[in-house]
Symmetry: C2
Subunit: 138 residues, 2 copies
């Protein structure tokens, strides 16, 4: 927030300087009007692009962010969420068990709980639902 205010302040200052520069160089007569106009056009063109890029970047980031609040709301525990992420990468129960150093039956228990909490019938459906809820990335 403070950053935004600082940037806008600097911007306004730069514009005022530009205004005065233009006026003086016009009065003194050693610069043509076309040159000044072209300069101003380029400066504002670039400013427009930069500002737009920042805004769109924020929007993009927001749409790809994980909704940690929703994870809590659904009642997914830390371990269950871990398992959910591994499911989404395409691992089998056995592979997940090896990766997390627990038994396959433990993973089965977690998966069952995940399916209930996400209201899914299958793990493939759980992946879809988790994506729609912005719980996992892609």
């Amino acid at each position: 927030m403070q950053k935004t205010i600082f940037i806008f302040g600097a911007l306004v200052l730069a514009l005022l300087v530009l205004f005065q520069l233009s006026k003086y160089s016009l009065v003194s007569g050693n610069t043509s009007i076309e040159f000044i106009i072209a300069g101003i056009a380029i400066v504002f063109f670039v400013i427009g692009i930069i500002i737009n890029k920042k805004v769109l970047y924020k929007e993009k980031n927001n749409s790809e962010e994980i909704d940690h609040e929703k994870i809590k709301t659904l009642g997914l525990s830390k371990r269950e969420y871990e398992v959910l992420c591994e499911i989404a990468t395409g691992l089998s129960n056995k592979e997940i068990a090896e990766k997390l150093f627990v038994s396959e039956s433990t993973i089965k228990t977690h998966v069952s709980n995940i399916l209930v909490k996400l209201n899914a019938k299958r793990r493939t459906q759980a992946i879809q639902i988790a994506k729609e809820l912005r719980i996992i990335q892609f």
Copy 2:
């Protein structure tokens, strides 16, 4: 392509008109220099935003577009691709069979072929691989 040329042509024309207008109004003396500069600044600011938005939109679309070439390269048939898309939505073989009006064993055959062609061990892995290859959306 022709569209781009047309737009750029119109843009250059508009700029020339702006230049001349500025000069004349300055010479005639009924418009202040600040007003002209402000006008030009606004116009180019807006142009910058518009052009930037279009470029980013295209980039975004490209990154989300389906690579039809890759589908052919992998040797996926039309029907197999249909089944792959349904798998990605989280449907079971039986549900896919009902949706496509064929038997479950037909879907099983398709799924087996899909897994071989995508080099996947499971359907969940197939979803991931298909996403990475930009064959399906998300």
